[in-house]
Symmetry: C2
DNA sequence: CTGAAAGCGCTTACAG
DNA sequence: CTGAAAGCGCTTACAG
């Protein structure tokens, strides 16, 4: 592969001059510029990004460590991250943690070894020593979706509390009183918060959240299936299951179907995170939708601000409830939302 | 960040010795090794991968350019690729082309500039000059899922011909005679092949595939919706729509639902590529399943074989039909597959 | 077993 | 406007 030396030789100038025209430095004569450009063209020369990075100490690359690529929520997040990064002149390298702290740590280490300019992470746990150390050492970093309390890093996420309140009001209005949740790992903020928000919302209606109705999942489908089976085996099974993410909702559907039961007749289902397939499932699933694309873009902007020394602040965006049919038929009489709500609620038209 | 010089100073040895212990070179005294390791630990030293790559001319990194991250098929492929690569000591950088040749070219260029050791690509088109040039210049490369005819690069893919034959036999057995297809882009091999296989299978049953029953899609959901609307507007709409990938099937479901029609009562639906949600859609969707994980792993093995000078050959794996209910109820009388088939056919139990 | 030195492909003060 | 030179952080013959 042609190097800058080859170009210099071909153009009859020094490598310094070649470098200057390549980097748009103003002080190069038109003649020299033309000869260099000609040589670049003739040789099909492309600068070696590795050498450039070593010299300039910047890679123009962002690292993104997501919890699970197989989760459509994160996949959409990753897409918007890459898009915004590209618009700002950065590449992104994605590491998939598969919800495993050890894999997360592997990717954080690899990314740091490659000297990425900044790190975007949705932590699966409280953070490995390596990650915490990087944050402390000042590596530009921002948390997205999930975060680690006590670490001084901006957080870009959505707040689902109001939407969870709307969901519980919706369920209560439908006559449901025994509500259960498939929780995410307690080691994650979203794992804890969604349970807290759910419990708080139940409390507002005078409803309890007994321990038996809190199933411990790990944000992946199998755990949703397993927890749902447990719920169904209870002497008094819940009337509604709220899955804290879309994959656990998938697992719940698997479990319900495997028993020959029907949603919502035998048990109602709702999920955190909305995905396109929820419109076409049997029945369509009521879900809480996050502004995923906006989250990804905001996270990149915050990170690039950090990298380029412009601060970079936390951002919190609201989530919203999308009512479909998996919790029972809403009263047909009411064209309006059947419960008072301070936050935007959309009744799906599909 | 500590460099190798700092470690050498801390350990009281030369950088050459530090490098040797870091790389497991045998000729280092036990004492020197211990001091170096101690210094590494004390300083929290991590080798700079950028510098190492520049010096050794290898990055231990694979590039993967996929057609669309939002497509679960590619997402699963990417996951298995990363997994196998990691097992072999490589990282992978994913580029998402979003089915756009210009974006694909952007990622190929970026990846090549970063001097990845090898490139895995599922081309969205006939290949940009840059990609073709890289292949000709001997950059280790393998095509996965889709490929470019005439380019001397191994191809790892699955052959859906037999499964498409099984599908058509299934549809024919159910009494369907007017079968339509939502095709992928003609610029892609899978786009062309699935239509060819479908036409050929129809021919074997004496059925035509009129032009009006070939809708041009682009493997993304919106095109599936649009094409399906066109089919439904036909004076004589088809009885079955076969979507050449899962996203176009999603779009087809959108279109059918928007008209207040039902699958399979009003129109039957089948898809290429099986995804977990197809079990829970209304109705469950009959699909052709690829051995996606195995494809990803085989592709990585082939690529690493190329990189490490061990050849690296093409691999073709069979796809298989998974019958569900979206094409009509199969005759309940037959516990066996209702059609003769040389390839493995699984009747889904879900 | 060990170190001094060259060199990977760039960029960038510095001097002219 | 231009070039010679230093240097980014490593690895690896070469000599001892």
């Amino acid at each position: 592969m042609a190097s800058i030396k080859d170009v210099a030789a071909e153009a009859g100038v020094s490598v310094a001059t070649v470098s200057r025209v390549l980097n748009g430095h103003p002080s190069v004569s038109a003649a020299a510029r033309a000869r260099v450009l000609g040589a670049v063209e003739a040789l099909g020369y492309r600068p070696n990004a590795v050498a450039r990075s070593l010299r300039t100490d910047q890679t123009r690359t962002l690292g993104l460590v997501i919890s699970d690529v197989l989760n459509p929520y994160f996949t959409e997040l990753a897409r918007s991250v890459e898009e915004e990064a590209r618009a700002l002149g950065y590449s992104v390298i994605i590491g998939n943690a598969d919800e495993r702290p050890d894999l997360q740590d592997h990717h954080v280490t690899t990314l740091l070894d490659r000297r990425i300019d900044g790190l975007l992470v949705s932590p699966t746990d409280g953070g490995s020593p390596r990650m915490l150390e990087a944050a402390r050492a000042g590596t530009p970093m921002v948390f997205v979706d999930r975060w680690i309390p006590g670490v001084d890093v901006p957080v870009v996420r959505s707040d689902g509390r109001a939407a969870v309140r709307d969901l519980v009001a919706h369920l209560h209005g439908l006559g449901h009183r025994r509500l259960a949740i498939i929780a995410g790992p307690a080691a994650t903020t979203t794992g804890r918060e969604r349970v807290d928000a759910f419990r708080e919302a139940l409390g507002a209606h005078g409803l309890p959240l007994p321990d038996a109705y809190i199933g411990q999942g790990d944000f992946q489908a199998d755990s949703g299936r397993r927890v749902t089976e447990g719920f169904l085996d209870l002497p008094e099974p819940p009337e509604v299951v709220f899955a804290a993410d879309n994959l656990m909702a998938l697992g719940a559907l698997d479990a319900v179907r495997a028993r020959g039961l029907r949603v919502p007749r035998d048990i109602a289902l709702a999920a955190f995170d909305d995905i396109r397939w929820f419109v076409h499932t049997d029945p369509p699933v009521t879900a809480i939708a996050q502004p995923t694309g906006e989250l990804g873009r905001a996270a990149v902007r915050a990170l690039v601000d950090r990298i380029e020394g412009r601060g970079g602040a936390s951002v919190t965006l609201p989530a919203r409830l999308v009512v479909r049919r998996s919790c029972g038929e809403p009263p047909a009489s009411s064209p309006q939302s059947p419960f008072p709500s301070p936050s935007p609620v959309r009744r799906s038209t599909t």
